[in-house]
């Protein structure tokens, strides 16, 4: 029982992290109709910025805030200089151009920070396990990720649902031509949305960095999962991304945690321990395939036209 609670927390933490990444991706995809493969690079840049700024300032929180600002600016500059020219073009062009950006960022990081990767050490107050229920200890840092990501999700919800900018974003997602015709500065809106998406990816990257390592290409594997999340959740839908991300996080973690034992009931131990990791990594793709069959638009598609 305690094991299950702990594994659910693990899944929740992973899911919320995926949400941060997927939220930016789904906004950019939904509103600008832009397939951005370089989203994972922004995740990586967030982690590299954080590692650099934390080393400079000596404070984890201050460094993280600076890194967040830096990825926001980087995202806006990227939109202004490069991606702006891709709107309205074929998706294949997007894929090609943003794949080029992945290579550019990987090479740029290699030149600036070197190939070996960086470490982002945690402050001591985040490295101790905390007792959340009697008998259940959970790493304080993973708990902090859950809290921060939930806060961001709440802010994002309030921002999109309750503010004027949020209204424009929603309007942009459902009908782009019309809000342009109504005299809204759509270029500026796009730059802002892209910057916001970049900052969210950067936040995911810098929060993941102390758990993993800061290294070249760190955003590429997780980007695939983020795409799975937005396909399941429905493109352009923040709510969909949130629920799908938690779903994917839980399935992935619980699958890894319990599938080996389940398989050992039917198979011998050796083949079960070989098959289980392979099978559990397939689970989320099976889920995606099922969702695509039943609801090709995703679970919560943003209203279109």
């Amino acid at each position: 029982m305690l094991l299950l609670v702990e594994q659910i927390l693990n899944g929740l933490q992973f899911g919320l992290l995926l949400f941060l990444l997927a939220a930016g991706l789904t906004l950019v995809f939904g509103i600008m109709d832009l397939v951005n493969l370089a989203h994972g690079s922004l995740y990586m840049m967030g982690a590299y910025f954080a590692a650099t700024f934390v080393a400079w300032t000596g404070s984890f929180v201050l460094g993280a805030v600076l890194a967040l600002g830096a990825t926001l600016v980087l995202g806006m500059v990227l939109e202004f200089t490069t991606l702006r020219h891709l709107y309205g073009r074929d998706h294949l062009d997007h894929v090609l151009a943003t794949f080029g950006l992945i290579l550019f960022f990987n090479e740029a990081v290699r030149l600036i920070w070197g190939p070996a990767g960086l470490a982002l050490p945690l402050p001591p107050w985040l490295t101790v396990p905390v007792q959340i229920f009697p008998g259940i200890y959970y790493p304080a840092y993973r708990l902090a990720i859950i809290v921060v990501a939930l806060l961001v999700a709440l802010l994002l919800y309030l921002g999109v649902m309750r503010t004027r900018i949020g209204m424009l974003i929603r309007a942009g997602a459902s009908n782009r031509e019309m809000i342009g015709a109504l005299g809204i500065n759509i270029k500026l809106l796009y730059t802002l949305v892209f910057g916001l998406g970049a900052a969210l990816a950067g936040l995911a990257g810098l929060m993941q960095a102390p758990i993993l390592t800061v290294q070249i290409g760190m955003g590429e594997n997780i980007l695939i999962l983020a795409f799975v999340v937005i396909v399941i959740g429905g493109i352009g839908s923040i709510r969909g991304a949130f629920l799908a991300a938690i779903f994917v996080g839980l399935i992935d973690t619980l699958g890894r945690a319990f599938l080996p034992n389940l398989l050992r009931q039917v198979l011998d131990s050796a083949s079960a321990s070989t098959a289980a990791p392979a099978l559990s990594s397939m689970l989320i793709y099976l889920l995606m395939a099922m969702v695509l069959v039943v609801r090709p638009e995703g679970l919560f598609p943003a209203n279109r036209r």
Partner: protein, 390 residues
């Protein structure tokens, strides 16, 4: 007139070059040079290049040409690159190979073409047993040996029970089997993770904690070792369940693992502070040639691979068509290995010592690895009986 002369000269050179090829020793080197584990491939290349410097970039009087190929840590790419080296470059030797799954995929290509393959790291159990070949030599170990040494050390420490975690590929399975072969206590649980994509080990660590085992053993090479130690420290398990490792803490991961690695023992056949002139020269020259970097066991094994090839080429005075003579020479392991002298078993895997290494702060305050004790002397792998070569 003048240009015609040059053209004629160039044409003569171009025509002459195929004949020229026989006058160089061609070595293919397959390792990982892109992606997160490229640092390992770079270390192997650096050490191989250093070895060539020390050999005067000549073997048996002939200049050496090395063709480096990137396997991207993928078995299919490694096989393609091996095929390219064998079929179109027609190399005399192939060396390298970090990953057991990449080596297993590439093995047949090299063996079928009777090209000597020197594994400078990967040591899958199949290679030591039924798949052993007269054309394959190792300058590393068989995968099970290092964790088996760790198992012996855990017995010495009186460890009663252990939870095993490792990646789900050829080497991961060998490693966990290796610990089990010598560890006398109880193996409470055994978990395999998706390799190389899974970087978050929270589910496995939670299971380990709940298993109430006394200790944890892991095998996570490269950056995964950094990630595992981060998460292990953050989970607070460091105080409750001591960690024992194989190939998880090395000079490449240490600058990133920092204090997390202190007090985490590992077993190894080569440590930078092993005695011997050859080893001292290697470590000093490496740090001189590549400022800011420290050599690892991957590099030391690559250096030995170059020395092994050199010994064979020298024995036949550069005539690489004499394969039997080269094989006979290599079986003698007639070179000054950085780890100290060793002998080859019937399956061309070294019979060698394994040491206990520990993380210490050196004179300049930097973390480095230190030999603490010899765990086992002249250890031979468990699979040599299955190898048909005698």
């Amino acid at each position: 007139m003048k240009s015609a002369f040059w053209l004629a000269g160039a044409a003569a050179l171009a025509l002459a070059s195929p004949a020229f090829a026989g006058d160089t020793i061609k070595i293919g080197f397959v390792s990982t040079f892109s992606g997160p584990t490229a640092v390992i491939g770079n270390d192997m290349r650096n050490s191989f290049e250093l070895a060539l410097d020390h050999l005067g970039r000549k073997m048996g009087g002939k200049p050496v040409e090395v063709i480096y190929e990137d396997d991207q840590q993928k078995p299919d790419i490694g096989k393609q690159k091996t095929e390219k080296l064998v079929q179109s470059d027609k190399v005399d030797f192939i060396a390298g190979y970090i990953w057991s799954n990449v080596l297993l995929a590439s093995l047949k290509t090299a063996v079928d073409s009777q090209t000597f393959l020197i594994s400078a790291n990967a040591g899958p159990s199949q290679l030591a047993g039924e798949l052993c070949s007269p054309y394959v030599f190792s300058t590393s170990w068989q995968n099970d040996q290092t964790p088996a040494a760790m198992g012996l050390y855990m017995n010495q420490k009186g460890v009663k029970s252990v939870f095993l975690i490792g990646p789900n590929y050829a080497a991961g399975k060998d490693m966990l089997a290796g610990v089990k072969s010598t560890f006398k206590g109880e193996v409470v649980g055994e978990e395999y993770t998706v390799w190389p994509s899974q970087l978050d080990f929270s589910a496995e660590l939670t299971k380990a904690r709940n298993s109430k085992a006394e200790s944890i053993f892991v095998f996570y090479p490269g950056a995964a070792g950094v990630q595992f130690l981060n998460q292990y420290a953050q989970s607070g398990l460091k105080q409750q369940m001591p960690l024992y490792t194989a190939f998880t803490v090395d000079e490449l991961s240490l600058p990133l693992q920092k204090d997390n690695a202190i007090g985490v023992p590992g077993a190894q056949e080569w440590v930078n502070d092993l005695p011997g002139e050859q080893n001292k020269r290697f470590v000093e020259d490496y740090r001189k040639k590549y400022p800011g970097l420290r050599p690892t066991y991957y590099g030391a094994q690559a250096y030995d691979a170059a020395q092994l090839i050199d010994s064979a080429v020298v024995a036949v005075k550069g005539d690489t068509s004499k394969k039997d003579a080269m094989k006979a020479e290599m079986e003698k392991a007639n070179f000054k290995s950085l780890r100290g002298a060793f002998k080859y078993g019937n399956n061309h895997i070294p019979i060698q010592n394994f040491y206990l290494q520990d993380v210490v702060k050196d004179a300049s305050g930097e973390l480095s690895l230190k030999t603490v004790a010899t765990i086992v002397k002249d250890d031979q792998d468990r699979f040599h009986d299955k190898c048909p070569m005698k």
